[in-house]
């Protein structure tokens, strides 16, 4: 379902290096999302699971290794959804009211930490996936 557009975004990127040549690319941001029509939490859970599975598959194809991909969604009514994946299945945790909560907007926080994929590629993959699934 393509029902959302992004209002504003704060983007931050960084790369951390360990003691050897071990490196992980990091992309982290928060966006306020607005829906053109009301959507329930269960539907959003499903959509974001698809986004996460797709990203993990993309990075696997690129020879990367997902360190951690995690999302936190908070609705206007403070209902929350926490999704996390290390490359295979997506773990879902949610507040009691999230599943049936209808909303027209929410805050999306996301952090992707991936090994063996360049930072630029990581950002491009995340942005393209969100655009593809949630473009106006």
């Amino acid at each position: 379902m393509k029902c959302m557009r992004r209002l504003k975004a704060k983007k931050h990127t960084s790369t951390l290096y360990g003691k050897t040549d071990e490196a992980a690319a990091v992309y982290s941001f928060e966006k306020n999302m607005v829906c053109h029509k009301s959507i329930i939490g269960a539907e959003l859970t499903q959509q974001y699971c698809v986004v996460m599975e797709g990203l993990c598959q993309t990075w696997a194809k690129r020879g990367g290794m997902v360190g951690h991909l995690k999302l936190f969604l908070e609705s206007e009514e403070k209902e929350t959804l926490w999704l996390s994946s290390v490359g295979e299945e997506v773990t879902i945790n949610q507040s009691h009211g999230w599943q049936n909560s209808a909303m027209t907007g929410y805050t999306l926080s996301m952090t992707a930490i991936v090994l063996l994929v360049p930072k630029k590629q990581l950002i491009e993959d995340v942005e393209n996936s969100l655009l593809m699934h949630f473009k106006k």
């Binding site: 960084s14 360990g18 982290s28 941001f29 290794m65 360190g67 936190f72 926490w82 926080s109 930490i113």
Partner: protein
């Protein structure tokens, strides 16, 4: 005052374990005053884990956009000193999964008067073999520095795989007790009591 530091690679299950431990500490709190502060460190500029922990009602301090074992060392010291003023019984650290715990312990022991520091290393059994190849220095340091080791996500691995990881981890750290579990399902009785 006791500091419990959770080391372990990103995605190993540190936050889930901290939620479980925090619940245990709060349940057993016999004082009227709050006795727990959690210090969260994430590499991204936007925190996720702190939101998860705050949604559980816990007192959480944030250190974002860097790592307390290197780039945020000074921030760690000032945050720790600030937290210690209120004399909580327990301080839980969740560093980024890319942190070298030996560096953090060195900073903490040098700049604070913490009575007791213990390190809980969380190892993702299902990914251990892959991670030790990709980032051997980090994974080894996280295990070497541990007072206790949790082999997590055992529900995603075969019995043989768990035994093999157990053996490899034991070779790296011969003294720390090792617990096997699937924390998202249940933390076995007695684990937190031993660590606390």
């Amino acid at each position: 005052m006791k500091l419990i530091l959770f080391s372990g690679f990103v995605g190993s299950g540190k936050t889930v374990l901290i939620l479980s431990l925090a619940q245990k500490i709060i349940e057993e709190n016999k004082k009227n005053a709050p006795n727990l502060v959690i210090i969260e460190n994430e590499v991204g500029a936007v925190g996720i884990d702190d939101k998860v922990l705050k949604s559980g009602g816990y007192d959480v301090k944030n250190l974002l956009e860097g790592c307390i074992c290197c780039t945020l060392q000074a921030n760690l010291v000032t945050t720790l000193q600030e937290v210690m003023k209120n004399k909580p019984e327990y301080i839980i650290f969740e560093p980024t999964g890319l942190a070298y715990p030996s560096n953090i312990i060195e900073t903490v022991t040098r700049f604070s008067k913490m009575e007791e520091v213990c390190v809980v290393a969380v190892v993702d059994v299902s990914r251990f073999s892959a991670l030790i190849k990709v980032t051997p220095g980090l994974i080894t340091d996280q295990i070497v520095a541990a007072s206790y080791i949790i082999l997590n996500k055992c529900d995603l691995a075969t019995k043989e795989k768990i035994q093999e990881v157990h053996r490899q981890v034991e070779e790296i750290n011969k003294t720390a007790p090792i617990y096997e579990m699937a924390a998202r399902e249940m933390v076995p009785d007695g684990v937190w009591s031993e660590i606390l």
